[in-house]
């Protein structure tokens, strides 16, 4: 199976390739991709250098252009697709129907992957994108079980790519507006969920507090880890029916996905590529995770047991789950 690895900077791209990535995905330093963080991503020159570095070592580069263009400003997204094609990207990862239609028409030779941001989670949706626009691969949302992925693969003719490690978003990706309500900025339009510009950490009364906009998302005793404040993983207090206050995670706990042990099952399900999340993480993260997963992929191909628990320290909340794949998670 192909290992698809994140790179937020040229240094991370080189680290991923050196650590054994078959493929690296990255984005331009603007609103056209869903990891539009300060100090992150690639200029056109950096992408050209990155493609050359990867290609000479037998690896491929994908460019994520997976936000939704705003009316009247679509040239920013059109230019990104053109430049990715001209600079030698193996494929572009797109989510927006209009942008996909434009790419298919203006760049007929360019390989198109359907981003997880398109939230295509059934054979009808995937086949529509394949038959209408020639999509060659779909990145499946993180809400499907292995059995459901197996069933989908029986009814489609395109490759499937699934997330196996990193931050876990279980919302209908590309459709979630939670962060927009708190910050006025949309992950789908502006390219960042819970933007750092609206995040504040402070020490108050012996506790660490993390806020997103005007909302207190986490309060933990000093010395305890404070997760990044996203609304879907927040810990909230509210009164119950009797007026007593109750505190808990309403949507998700701040845990990360680690599907290492499911790699053989995903292989059997017909999955073509395994994706690691984390373009916003450092080159140290990329090197450690890619090396571990390259070993796991090679073990799976030889029928050897999967290594486990090697990467717990790198996960958000210092805890991991197999997510929806094994359906033991709420």
């Amino acid at each position: 199976m192909e290992l698809v690895c994140p790179a937020g900077t040229p240094a991370a791209l080189r680290a991923a390739v050196d650590a054994g990535a078959h493929t690296v995905y990255c984005g331009f330093a603007d609103e056209t991709n869903a990891r539009n963080f300060p100090g992150l991503n690639f200029s056109r020159e950096e992408l050209a250098d990155g493609v050359a570095y990867a290609q000479t070592r037998g690896a491929k580069v994908l460019v994520a252009i997976n936000t939704f263009p705003r009316a009247g400003e679509q040239m920013l997204w059109h230019d990104a697709v053109r430049d990715a094609a001209d600079l030698g990207a193996h494929a572009v990862i797109l989510a927006d129907l209009g942008l996909i239609a434009h790419a298919a028409e203006a760049h007929p030779g360019l390989r198109l992957h359907l981003s997880v941001q398109a939230a295509a989670a059934n054979p009808d949706a995937i086949n529509f994108y394949a038959q209408t626009f020639g999509i060659r691969r779909v990145v499946l949302p993180r809400v499907l079980s292995v059995e459901e992925i197996t069933a989908i693969n029986r009814e489609i003719d395109v490759e499937t790519e699934v997330f196996v490690f990193g931050g876990l978003c279980v919302m209908a990706e590309g459709r979630c507006s939670l962060s927009s309500y708190a910050t006025g900025l949309s992950p789908n339009m502006n390219g960042v969920c819970s933007p750092a510009s609206h995040v504040t950490y402070s020490d108050i009364g012996g506790n660490h507090e993390a806020r997103l906009g005007d909302f207190l998302i986490h309060r933990t005793p000093k010395g305890m880890p404070v997760p990044y404040p996203t609304l879907c993983k927040g810990c909230f207090t509210s009164p119950d029916d009797k007026g007593n206050s109750q505190t808990g995670h309403i949507f998700e706990d701040p845990v990360s996905l680690d599907a290492t042990r499911l790699i053989p099952a995903l292989q059997k399900a017909g999955v073509s590529a395994l994706k690691i999340e984390g373009r916003q993480r450092s080159r140290a993260y990329v090197a450690q995770v890619v090396r571990a997963f390259r070993a796991a992929v090679e073990a799976a191909e030889q029928g050897a047991p999967m290594p486990e628990g090697l990467l717990a320290r790198l996960t958000e909340g210092q805890a991991a789950t197999t997510g929806a794949y094994a359906k033991t998670w709420r």
Binding site: G8, T9, P10, A11, A12, R14, A15, D18, A19, G20, F37, P38, G39, L40, R57, P195, A196, S197, V199, T200, Y201, S202, D203, H208, G223, M224, P225, V226, P227, Q280, R281, S282, R283, A284, Y285, A287, Q288, R313, L314, T315, E316, G317, Q318
Partner: protein, 146 residues
Amino acid sequence: MRRIATEKPAILSRLGPYRQSRFLLDVSDAPFLLLMQPEARRLTAHSRRAAAPDHDAAIRGGLAAFLAMLHGAEDGDALFFSGELQISGDTSAVLALRNALDDAELDLTEELAGISGQPLGRWLRRGSALVARKSGFILSRQEVMP
């Protein structure tokens, strides 16, 4: 700072508007506070006995964590999730700095050796390796072995 900014101009371009930010580096096992001002290419030490200098963002943690992050041995987010690093102030500025320095692949031993010239530089490299082994501190860039 001037030498690094000259040799690695991508640090300032990656910082974008945050090159004008003032970063307080509170290394808990150091006797002083450091104030980094990228735009001015200035790094200054300040007494802990006085009030902390004005700053836009602060990063606090042990020397081992700072050195491991700078040299690509440890992930900044992992150090943050585990509580080994804490941040306050302008979170965007901290992220921009972390990403800019991560991409720069700095090597403090090589920077010092480069300033020092040939004979002293050789001695510094050997001394740094010895101190790293004895102390456990990461004092030079960690390479990814293919």
